[in-house]
């Protein structure tokens, strides 16, 4: 195990800290009665955690593909289960994304959540903790525990604070994701019995027999495809997104969905490379279906949240498409696209949350014609809409470009269909923008955004422009890890 790790050289176990600070904050909430204090503490916890995670970026060494900031302690000795943490280029930005979004989620729920504030903040912090845990774990069991533990607070977020159909949506979400991950567990045990340890890096690139890889890949892929969600497994997503409270939607869209594609990158490709190559055509077809189908469904939506939810299906199609081209460009694009989608879609959900707080409706018709009434809001909304359909100069443009380059270099027809999907994306986002901004003459008096709301949207704006105009630091950081993945994959081609 040690050979895969660069041990943590900071004065404190930084990964453990980022995982457990939210947890500690959540526990602290139990002893506090006052509602305002609860919110403040949750916010401070989130911000502290974000600042600590910035240290990760500062000390990250982009010249190695090994897992950095490693921590490694025996946990359950009988089965060689270790408490092993470490991050590489793939996970660094996902963790930063999570820690960035957590305080924003607290901020956006400041007034939107009126009842059971303490429990709500508790769930948010618990989610943050579990999600960071998923990205850091280098041990299958540790990973699986965080992976599943994440479901419970997410389920509660939807089930308690959700919209009118929360019951249906939460159950569907829970059962869908859980049924996928049970097979993940079986696959993990199978890998464990073959390699003799639960270490994830130890299981990579070992050249198992094809039949073994075939079944393990299928078990992995079902779990991750449900999480992504890929085309036939996407039906839980619109319901869950639509019914969840704003913070829940943001977490779902920005981080939870990334776990599926992260799973493909971290597990399917390195552990079962031969089967990944074998199944790649099918996955690519499913991704293309997701891109085009998601786009066309979006055209017909009347509910803003539902529209954005379906656009997630399409965007995540680009991610899986990029991953299964097995090219460096594809991988880079997929990873960038994961980040971009997290930022942009998260921002769009925040925008919908803002308007929902004022008009108490998510219907496009009820919210149309806001251009004159809420100019600042429309500015932000328009900006993120442009970013969502990959307008040049925004983050998604860079990501999609990388993915498309990767796709064209491996398969022209797939590239063609992907471009059609990108065009449809422009159509539905512009349609939405048009309806919201100019839909009708409206003389309602709705208050424009207040300072708090501007504060939590601004970091996202900065990020959109940064990746859109100057993606080099991001690409540079992730390249070494992905290059390693490409070279290892080429051994099996």
């Amino acid at each position: 195990m040690e050979q895969y790790l660069v041990m943590n050289k900071l004065s404190f176990p930084i990964l453990s800290a980022t995982i457990f600070i939210p947890l500690a904050g959540a526990c602290l909430l139990f002893f506090i009665k006052h509602e305002r204090a609860v919110k403040v503490i949750a916010l401070i916890t989130g911000i502290i955690n974000f600042l600590i995670s910035l240290l990760l970026y500062a000390h990250f060494n982009p010249d190695t593909y090994l897992f950095q900031f490693g921590e490694y302690k025996p946990w359950i000795p009988g089965h060689s289960i270790y408490y092993a943490l470490g991050i590489d280029g793939i996970t660094l930005f996902l963790i930063l994304l999570t820690t960035l979004l957590a305080p924003l989620c607290v901020l956006c729920s400041w007034t939107a959540i009126a009842q059971r504030v303490k429990e709500f903040m508790f769930c948010i912090l618990l989610m943050e903790s579990a999600m960071i845990g998923v990205f850091c774990s280098l041990d299958f069991i540790l990973f699986y525990i965080f992976w599943e533990a994440m479901l419970i607070p997410m389920y509660l977020l939807i089930a308690i604070w959700g919209g009118p159909q929360k019951d249906y949506a939460s159950i569907k979400f829970f059962i869908y994701t859980l049924s996928g991950s049970v097979f993940l567990l079986v696959a993990i045990i199978a890998v464990y019995l073959t390699t003799g340890s639960f270490s994830i890096p130890n299981a990579m690139y070992r050249g198992y027999g094809f039949t073994f890889e075939y079944w393990v890949f299928l078990a992995f892929a079902i779990a991750f495809a449900i999480k992504v969600p890929m085309f036939p497994f996407h039906t839980w997503l619109p319901a869950a997104h639509t019914e969840a409270p704003t913070a829940g939607s943001v977490f779902l869209a920005s981080v939870l969905l990334k776990m599926g594609s992260y799973g493909f990158l971290r597990f399917c490709l390195p552990i079962t490379p031969k089967a990944s190559l074998f199944f790649a055509p099918y996955i690519i077809v499913l991704s293309l279906i997701a891109i085009i189908y998601g786009g066309f469904v979006c055209l017909r939506q009347t509910d803003m949240k539902r529209l954005i939810a379906f656009s997630s299906v399409a965007h995540m199609g680009f991610v899986t498409l990029g991953i299964f081209t097995f090219t460096l460009f594809g991988f880079q694009g997929a990873l960038l696209q994961m980040l971009n989608h997290g930022i942009t879609t998260g921002a769009l959900f925040l925008c919908v949350g803002i308007i929902y707080e004022r008009t108490h409706s998510r219907e496009i018709f009820d919210n149309s014609g806001l251009g004159k009434i809420m100019p600042v809001y429309m500015g932000f909304f328009g900006f993120f809409s442009l970013s969502a359909f990959a307008f040049p100069g925004t983050n998604n443009f860079v990501g999609e470009l990388y993915v498309l380059i990767g796709t064209f270099s491996s398969n022209k027809i797939a590239g063609f269909f992907a471009i059609v999907g990108a065009l449809v994306a422009a159509a539905y986002m512009l349609l939405l923008l048009k309806r919201i901004a100019w839909g009708r003459d409206d003389t309602r008096s709705i208050k424009d955004m207040n300072v708090r709301e501007i504060i939590y949207l601004l970091p996202l704006v900065v990020f959109v422009l940064w990746v859109g105009l100057f993606p080099k630091p991001f690409v540079h950081t992730i390249t070494k890890t992905l290059e390693h993945l490409v070279t290892e994959m080429q051994r099996f081609m």
């Binding site: 359950i76 089965h79 699986y144 525990i145 965080f146 599943e148 959700g162 159950i171 059962i175």
Partner: protein
Amino acid sequence: MLLLPELYMMLLAIIFLFISIGKRKGNVVACGQLLSILGVVISLSSIFFKGELFYGAYRVDLFSQVFKVLLAAGYCLVILMLGSKDEIEHEYIAEFYMFLSFSTLGLMMLVSSVELISIVLSLEISSYSLYVILPLRRAQVQVQHEASIKYLFFGAISSGIMLYGMGYLYGICHSTFLTDIIRVLPKFLNQPIGILALVLTLTGFLFKLSLFPFHFWSPDVYEGASHSTTTFIATIPKIAAAALLIRITSMAYLAPPVLVQILMVLAALSMTFGNLVGLVQRDIKRLLAYSGIAHAGYIMMGILALSREGNLSVVYYITIYLFMNLACLYTVILLSKDGENVTLDGLIGLSKRSPLLAFTLATSAFSLAGIPPTGGFTGKLYLFISAFREGYLTIVIIGAVNTVISIFYYLNLVRMSYSKEGNSVTPLKLSGMAKIICLIFIFFILAMGVTPSSFMGLFKHMVF
């Protein structure tokens, strides 16, 4: 002093006998609570005793002592959970405690017995006591009679079948001592007679565990018996049954695949049947009965591995099962009005009425479903690994599918208490004792999920 826990349990029974004869029945409950807590302390203090008694018919070792601690802890929790709820007829509360003590005593002797006749008799002592307390229930007219008759009949039949199997064991080994049997039995394991003897002998314990073809009693008994009796029957005898299953199957490590196949079919049917029927239940106690049938199937996954590791995982699972099942039933006890059964609709609005109780229920339901980071997940992981390691992929996959099925109804418990809003919200006041018990449950369920090594360290030395 090797028999300290048993002697103490017998003392308890005698004390309650005298209380029941005497005129003053003032504070039986408080007295019972104190004495039962002392019982846990005493069995903990005797955990490292070692020795053999009665010409080798009674073995005191770490295996039996750990199980005795579990039994004493379960007994103590059941008595604490009963508290001041008056669902048992008041005049019979002392007798109720007495028979609970007798039953626990029988089970304690069962886990130490290594001789067939003693095994049967200890099991019968425990069962007879339960037959007697089943009808003690207030506010119900008919259900408890049906329950007690069913339990008696099925219990008698399964004991009969078990004796039949033991007769074969005696016939081929010419001894009732397990130490002798273990020497001779392997020679007969490749013959039908050996397998027949073993499987029939297991029947009595599969009945207590409510595995598939022997499960008929469990839903009706759970539904009909008073909540505290159900709580006892649902957990404590199952612990001892698991112990004896380990003891008996460990004589058959070299058994041919047919034994494993039989057990595997039973386990698969049990899981699938329990979970599928559990889906449509409205009464929480019935739901837990079917969940118990499914869990018997999971436990068999460890047994059928026929390995030391499998036994270890069974011990771990039965321990966590004790806590999570008790926690679920505790909700029923606290929620029920006048001793009536609680349906799923009765849970509506629980998270507002009593957040702690709702949280306890949620934790135990997630644990029963096997979701990390609860102990139910860790236990199931151990079971899956041990069965998988012996190459029984089929049963592992069936178990995994069943986990998914079971999510539906376990999640229903959480869903009802958290996301459904009731119209009448009357806060449910928990006493200080109830809060402590809830916290104990939550602590153990989470602790066994996150730091299994502390428990495993102890269990590792006890199994064979």
